[in-house]
């Protein structure tokens, strides 16, 4: 059975078709995206690192209600509120453990003050697990982590 297939020459035309297909590919633009010089486009609803938003006076919008911590499926958010008598309530400590986080976006949906949002930033890399616990300083400006090197 093999003999007939080899000797009849039926594989020559498919071989030539294969050659023309690879040549066509050779002259096409490659599909590789050269990260980090080029980045792939992400959607506007992309769920990346968190940001704690500030209002126009520079104070955190967050009222430390704890809804985000309650709804988080992996218990990534831990929060210590501070309330002075007759004053505003704000978070004294707000830590999101980005390694535990599954980037589901429930905290963003649950927040009544629109104080937490998930940004388009995904670039964070670090050496030890402790540094992945983002405190308020890191959460206020996640754009600092976007990799600008080569």
């Amino acid at each position: 059975m093999d003999e007939q297939r080899t000797l009849s020459g039926k594989y020559i035309v498919p071989l030539l078709k294969g050659l023309s297909y690879t040549l066509k590919n050779f002259f096409s633009k490659p599909v590789t995206i050269q990260y980090p010089t080029e980045r792939r486009p992400v959607s506007k609803r992309w769920r990346g690192l968190h940001r704690l938003k500030v209002d126009d006076q520079g104070r955190l919008k967050c009222a430390a209600c704890g809804l985000c911590a309650a709804i988080c499926p992996s218990s990534a958010i831990s929060l210590v509120p501070y309330e002075e008598e007759g004053g505003t309530r704000y978070p004294e400590e707000f830590v999101i453990n980005e390694i535990r986080c599954i980037f589901c976006g429930y905290c963003q949906e649950a927040c009544p003050k629109d104080a937490i949002e998930l940004t388009e930033v995904y670039d964070y890399v670090d050496y030890c697990r402790e540094d992945f616990k983002f405190d308020i300083a890191k959460l206020k400006n996640p754009e600092q982590f976007v990799f600008k090197g080569k």
Partner: protein
Amino acid sequence: MVEFMAVLLIKLLVVFTVSMLIVAYATWIERKVLGHVQLRYGPMRVGWHGLLQPVADGIKSFFKEEVVPENADKSLFILAPIISITAALSLLVVIPFGDTVTIMGRTITLYLTDLDIGILFVLGLATIGSYGTILGGWSSGNKYGVFGGLRATAQMISYELSMAFAVISLVMVAGTLSLVEMVHYQADLWNIVRQPVAFIIFIVSGIAELNRTPFDMPEAESELACGYNIEYSSMKFSLFFMAEYAHMFVFGALVTTFFLGGWHGPFLPGVVWFFIKTFLVIFFCIWERSTFPRLRYDQVMKLEWKILLPAALLNVAVTGLVMIIMA
């Protein structure tokens, strides 16, 4: 006499340097072409578009540890890659790179030597190159290495037969064994028009000689823990590798000389046409490597002994018949 030796030495240096550069950058060309065919870029990081990649590879293999296995036959182990690369580079002495030029009042021929038996020399040295393979396999002291080396050598010596018969039909038509005369014979019509069947047979046999896909069973087995260069590390492995690319360059040069009219061509100087044609052949070798699947070993042998060799013999017979009828 002194002048003759000086010119020869300079030509030797130029040919050696240029071919070593071409061998190094053939690896770059291969990786880039293979990449683009597979819709990706090749090396892009080391230097602009990866141009310094061969330098990086050279530095890496220079610093790797040389391992000689305990069972190995030490002298043969070291000798085998030397034989491979010597046979590959010695073929460069007979290739005519271009027309005769006049530099500073002296006419300088662009080949290192014009042997009257040039083609016989080429075929003979190509056969000696397969000694490197079999000795490499045998001296590794590894039974898989022996097996792989045997298979590689059997493949190489089988395909030399059809290659020789393809060249014999050319010799019958041109009437000369010298490569320079062969190029001069093609001044008005390229040999590919006179002997198309011999062209196809020569190309297929040459690719099998080079152990390239689809005939790279001996090499692929290295990926599958089998093969003649399994026990070789750093410099000796690079020598085998460079011998393969040097063989590819020589194969391109031979196809150009035998079938594609050597250095003939309009407008541009002969050397430029020679290199353009050689690089086209090298591009074809890389192109077909990225396209064709690998043949199983018995299919490789069947292709040679049942298809290519009878076709080559038939081609010689028909050429002889036509020559008698037309004379």
